[in-house]
Symmetry: C3
Subunit: 326 residues, 3 copies
């Protein structure tokens, strides 16, 4: 289908309600304004309400999602599949594409232009930074990034932001600390960039080797957000509204003794949580491999499984919004 | 979702009709009473009737099944997918999970607790004995085992029992013989344990190396069921109502000459079937690799493909029952 | 389910309208008459109209397709999945079956007879020539071939024919040229055999090593179709209504220098297209790896992505037709 003259993509039927998301690609957290974020979190609230009351809707009945994963991600792909199905839509699951025509040498644009013949919206996970933007450029239907390499993972950023909002009732005025591999963790970068739009205070907790890139720190400072850095969770845990923990990835360490030292240092235990505020949220993008002790799971402040659930609502909201049905 | 105070899992909307299956996990054949079995076979009869008349229903419209297979099983996974779809529900197919976050080291409980955020019911196939019970313990939604290692395969046991019932009109009073690898075959163990609840007579036909474990024989004897053992099908085929044949697995034999000897010994041929009763059922869980000659397939007593079909009805019944919609 | 006495397969409910496709297998382009082709292209037109107007229909609601792929093909499998879903039906996706019971040694007939217990129609992609016909013989439900080895790929032939029809408004009277690996390309063979039924003139453009098999040329001549051969696209491009380009497969060449010579020779560029008629169609079954320059994509005569889209309509038409719902 042709792209319309005003640059907006044509996505099947006329939308039931217009929004700035209609016909748009979702490829970067940088594309959102506060108004966009308020809108999409509002739609996510509606989606939660629908799922809690009746399980599903027929909003996207007759629509087809191509779920194109060039690298495995059970969590993210399952979340998008469930989101589409609870909206009444259908899914073409395309996983393990290393075996497909892609491996015969076909270019990403050709694959995308083939799939847009079958589907109304494409979700793309790809190991290369920038792949989603390339796909979006060639695709006349909306493309939603499900993560590209160490680059962007915009829907993760949105679900993290939405979780902060639902756990604490607001975003402005909060103190958010991020812990772990802040250098390589794309979820940390995406969330930090979204929080930049809000009146927040940010603390970053990491060993020297894994500190936040200067570039992102400067973006935050330029936006007028106070930024603090430390290498001890104990320094900040008593004063934060959100503690966002990420996995320290063993493979990043040349010196495994250093890894062994930091990985235990960062384990969130019930003892550590005893120092935290009564009202706060402990978050993690999962999977975890030891950063949060299982004994913390029953703590009402442990928000990481609710965070997973929020991922489905945010993805329902995005799918409905880009198809003009939110 | 929280588990309710009475221990029953919360599964979405209020059930249209209560049964003892509502909100339960299906992880072992040992959990069923005769009343349970009568109930679920009755529901399976209804499912068969629906499929024969109109192909499908909307009973589980809006519900989502996570079909989580840690090892491949085309037959079982396809059966569950078709069952859910013919009930109007949707399926998240999660196969080949060796490539997923599981392989990044995530624990089974975390994977399950993620999937319960997206789905209303989880089907789990896992290579380790007891995995389903672990999953069920951590999951607030119903878990249905699709087989764990050499342990349980409860839905196979149920579909085998249901096939005996539909083929012969009763279970009490029957003489059931099981043939093949009785030592390692989990389908044999599951079915024997279910038949223990009925007034049945059981014969076990296997070479010495592959005889039924003492433990199961003792369970049968304790329940008052007559048990006979032999190593010749010819000894019993004329006197059985059911001949349940299983694959002799080559990989169990250290001495391949022994394997070569027994594998042909156990081939069911038209000549052997000529000695069997006019009204009886020849069953096999499939796949077969020579235990039943293809020339037997047209024999009206060859029930193994009807057995496959019954698998879908039993799984439809279980899915509807645990979700309170049977 | 039994095959009826008149040889027609029993496919669930009574058809809403009878056609010669009802209950039939689709395994070869040789099975079609001109009347068959006119009928199925007419149904494809209706499908296109439905998709353009409302996205999808409920025509096959309650029906289940088993999409059984023994070798990967993102394009073809996605096309069948989308086709079934836009008809309101459900899909059991069975890909990567090298890991399944098939690899445990189960025969194709047993696999097919298992799947027909769950599904109403089976789509089969298999690496061996003739596999679809074997499957169809054992299956009481309709089997649709999605390609078997270097043999047939009938739905590709149909979608190619349908694309010619939709691009040029007719098939009779056209001059169709095929370019590339005419010796091994099954899509070329299938399309040539379909064009044999129409008043067409055919030109084949290939280097000596990759010329059309004599057998097919003789079939065309026997049907009274004029056939010309050349090894230069320039010789014919100005005079054709359809230029059907295929991939030259590197692996067929013992002498890679020869490959290097011919592969560039056959690249369709904007300069070459400047010599073509104003009204003509440039087609390619995709994937391409250099046979058509990306700069040609915006040419209105470049029909290859519309060709992909037509694949979905043709497969919708076939699924509806064999299930008696067209």
């Amino acid at each position: 289908m042709p792209i319309r003259e005003d640059g907006q993509k044509v996505v099947g039927l006329a939308p039931s309600r217009q929004s700035s998301f209609y016909g748009r690609d979702i490829v970067s957290v940088r594309q959102f304004s506060r108004e966009d974020l308020a809108y999409i979190m509002g739609v996510a609230d509606e989606m939660r309400s629908i799922v809690k009351r009746v399980g599903a809707t027929d909003l996207l009945k007759g629509y087809v999602l191509a779920n194109l994963f060039y690298e495995p991600s059970t969590r993210t792909s399952s979340s998008f599949i469930a989101a589409m199905q609870r909206l009444g839509g259908a899914v073409i699951p395309i996983h393990g594409v290393q075996y497909s025509s892609v491996s015969k040498g076909e270019s990403l644009p050709d694959t995308i232009r083939t799939l847009e013949c079958y589907a109304d919206v494409i979700v793309l996970r790809h190991p290369e930074v920038g792949a989603s933007e390339v796909a979006a450029r060639y695709c006349s239907k909306p493309v939603i990034s499900a993560g590209d390499g160490i680059g962007e993972h915009p829907t993760q950023g949105l679900l993290d932001l939405y979780t902060i909002y639902t756990e604490l009732g607001t975003i402005d005025g909060l103190h958010v600390a991020m812990v772990g591999d802040l250098r390589n963790g794309r979820t940390v970068h995406s969330l930090a960039r979204l929080l930049r739009l809000y009146d927040t205070r940010l603390s970053f907790v990491a060993p020297d080797l894994l500190r936040l890139p200067e570039e992102i720190k400067e973006e935050l400072l330029a936006a007028g957000r106070p930024v603090a850095e430390t290498d001890r969770v104990e320094d900040i845990i008593a004063n934060v509204d959100v503690l966002y923990v990420t996995r320290v990835q063993k493979e990043r360490f040349a010196d495994l003794r250093l890894y062994e030292a930091v990985k235990d240092y960062y384990e969130i235990t019930p003892e550590l949580m005893a120092q935290a505020r009564e009202k706060m949220a402990l978050m993690h993008p999962l999977p975890r491999v030891g950063e949060i002790h299982y004994d913390v799971d029953d703590d009402p402040r442990a928000a990481y499984f609710r965070q997973m659930e929020n991922g489905m609502y945010i993805r329902m909201a995005l799918l409905a919004a880009v198809l003009g049905k939110a």
